[in-house]
């Protein structure tokens, strides 16, 4: 199997004069759970649709496991695009039967596969109910079951937890994590829910205005920010603390943070410990000296500002 599950090169798609996706380059390695992040309207869904061949791209190339994307390469791909749609007058099982036929599974193999995926998403009990009676969470699980038919090696999930309640979100999140871990499925998950992506993904790409603005492992993206070494400092005597900090030329005073504490960025070789010693020597009683932890949300806001 190719090391690269999905490779997108120079993908561009415009609607009229507006470019929804501009020269997008993306690489998802086999085994990755890749978070495709971006604000609403950034071009995530358009990019996903182009990757899947639902809409045409103006230019660019998409390769799936080293092969140029065609209808054949969809054999290795399962996908959910936006809100999944079902034939609501048919049962969950009938919807899956239809999808199994479309996936090219023989009736016998299809039956086995359907039993397997229903079990996997925990819908076996309700499979003979009409899809129209399913809750949003059940529809989402049924969509995942449908995407898993034929044992795809790559799953493309567009906003898979959209509209779900916290319990439903957690269930879907756990399921995706388990698919990656136990079923060895490479996953590309598009979302604007940063906590969700940080919880599941090992690699992240951030897209804005149709262009990839940042890409890397979650650790890389967070470390890059951490390198700036921002601390929150507080004391009983705020005036004395501020005066002392203003007198130091190897740090920047950034002002008060959301917590009301002063924020400083360390420069050069200055460390948190050295700063603590200096302030103690200056007779300032510290009540807090806390390294500012950065979340993916901070990185996202930084990149997309």
């Amino acid at each position: 199997m190719s090391d690269t599950a999905l490779e997108v090169r120079g993908l561009t798609r415009s609607f009229g004069k507006r470019a929804a996706v501009k020269s997008l380059d993306l690489q998802v390695q086999t085994g990755d759970v890749y978070g495709f992040l971006g604000p609403n309207g950034a071009g995530k869904t358009t990019a996903m649709r182009c990757i899947l061949g639902l809409i045409r791209s103006d230019s660019g190339e998409v390769n799936v496991f080293g092969q140029r994307r065609s209808y054949r390469s969809l054999r290795d791909v399962g996908a959910i695009v936006e809100t999944p749609a079902f034939h609501v007058w048919m049962t969950g099982m009938e919807n899956l039967n239809l999808a199994a036929a479309y996936s090219g599974l023989t009736p016998k193999h299809g039956k086995e596969e359907i039993a397997r995926v229903l079990e996997r998403v925990g819908l076996s009990e309700r499979s003979s109910d009409k899809a129209g009676t399913y809750s949003l969470g059940m529809k989402q699980r049924l969509a995942i079951a449908r995407a898993l038919l034929g044992r795809p090696k790559l799953l493309l999930l567009d906003e898979p937890t959209n509209g779900l309640d916290p319990r439903g979100m957690r269930e879907v999140r756990e399921l995706i994590r388990s698919l990656a871990l136990h079923d060895q499925i490479t996953v590309l998950i598009s979302s604007h829910l940063l906590g969700e992506v940080q919880a599941i993904c090992n690699r992240v790409g951030i897209i804005q205005e149709g262009t990839l603005r940042a890409e890397g492992t979650v650790e890389e993206l967070l470390d890059a920010e951490a390198a700036e070494r921002i601390l929150e400092v507080a004391s009983v005597d705020e005036g004395a603390l501020k005066a002392a900090l203003e007198g130091m030329d190897d740090l920047d005073l950034l002002g008060a943070g959301a917590s009301g504490r002063l924020r400083v960025r360390l420069q050069g070789t200055l460390t948190a410990g050295a700063l603590n010693r200096r302030l103690v020597q200056a007779d300032i009683d510290l009540t807090a000296l806390v390294p500012e932890t950065r979340s993916l949300e901070d990185v996202f806001l930084e990149v997309t500002k």
Partner: protein
């Protein structure tokens, strides 16, 4: 699974899906009702003492089982029942699924778009076959019970067969319009407009041909009159000659073949090219 086998599997799956639609089932119930009602009406007419222009209706009719078959076929066309269901189901199959986003789910599978379209057309054609088959079977059995075995059975059988081909061609036309328009109400209006315009064109040419029999008309008009058997309305009504015992017109069949092939090609080309978001 090879592509032809895959397409056959899709045909089966699409047929099951189509037959699970309430509208498709209603259509088949309509076929049962018509095929029961028409022979009974014919039986009643042929056993009533009613007179028309001094002749008893039963003598004028000379009813037999094949006539019951023909009447059923002609009624479901004149009353626009079969065509209405083909328009509805054909539109739902493409434009309806486009709007409901279920068409997108089909395209996420490893199948060429043309094969998806072919499977949907084949499913609709199967439904048409079922509709006509039910009408033929029930009308035949009831006709045999009511009238016995007398009469010529070959022409009605051919009429049903050709009606099947004509309606499969009509289904291709509906799918082509649905693929191009992709909106349920606009597709329905579009198909009706096409049929109405086509009918008016046919009537216009008939009137012109009457005039040409009474007076000299320019050669160009004569040429246009000759085009009548090639009109879509003539093509889609190619079955009618068999139902009334007239010689069949080869131009109707050629036009039906052209209409079907052109509709299928346009549908496939546009379907290959459109965005299905």
């Amino acid at each position: 699974m090879s592509l032809p086998t895959h397409v056959l599997a899709l045909w089966r799956a699409e047929t099951i899906k189509l037959l699970s639609r309430t509208s498709a089932r209603l259509g088949l119930i309509g076929a049962i009702a018509i095929s029961l009602l028409i022979p009974l009406i014919l039986f009643w007419l042929s056993n009533t003492g009613m007179e028309m222009n001094g002749t008893e209706v039963k003598d004028a009719l000379g009813a037999d089982a094949p006539m019951a078959l023909n009447w059923s076929l002609r009624f479901l066309h004149w009353a626009f029942i079969l065509r209405a269901f083909i328009i509805l189901l054909g539109t739902m199959t493409i434009a309806g699924e486009f709007s409901a986003k279920t068409l997108r789910e089909d395209l996420l599978r490893p199948v060429p778009r043309a094969a998806i379209l072919a499977a949907k057309w084949a499913a609709l054609s199967t439904w048409i076959g079922l509709f006509l088959g039910i009408t033929w079977l029930i009308s035949s059995v009831l006709g045999l019970i009511l009238f016995g075995t007398d009469g010529g059975w070959q022409d009605p059988a051919l009429a049903y067969l050709v009606a099947g081909l004509c309606n499969v061609g009509f289904a291709a036309l509906v799918l082509a319009i649905a693929v191009c328009i992709r909106s349920v109400p606009v597709t329905i209006v579009g198909v009706f407009l096409f049929l109405v315009m086509n009918t008016f064109l046919g009537w216009g040419l008939t009137v012109v041909s009457w005039i040409s029999e009474m007076a000299d008309v320019p050669e160009a008009v004569e040429f246009v009159i000759q085009a009548r058997p090639w009109l879509p309305s003539s093509a889609l009504g190619a079955w009618y000659g068999f139902a009334v015992g007239e010689p069949w017109i080869w131009q109707n069949f050629a036009a039906l073949g052209l209409l079907t092939a052109l509709s299928a090609l346009v549908a496939a080309a546009v379907f290959e090219w459109i965005d299905v978001p």
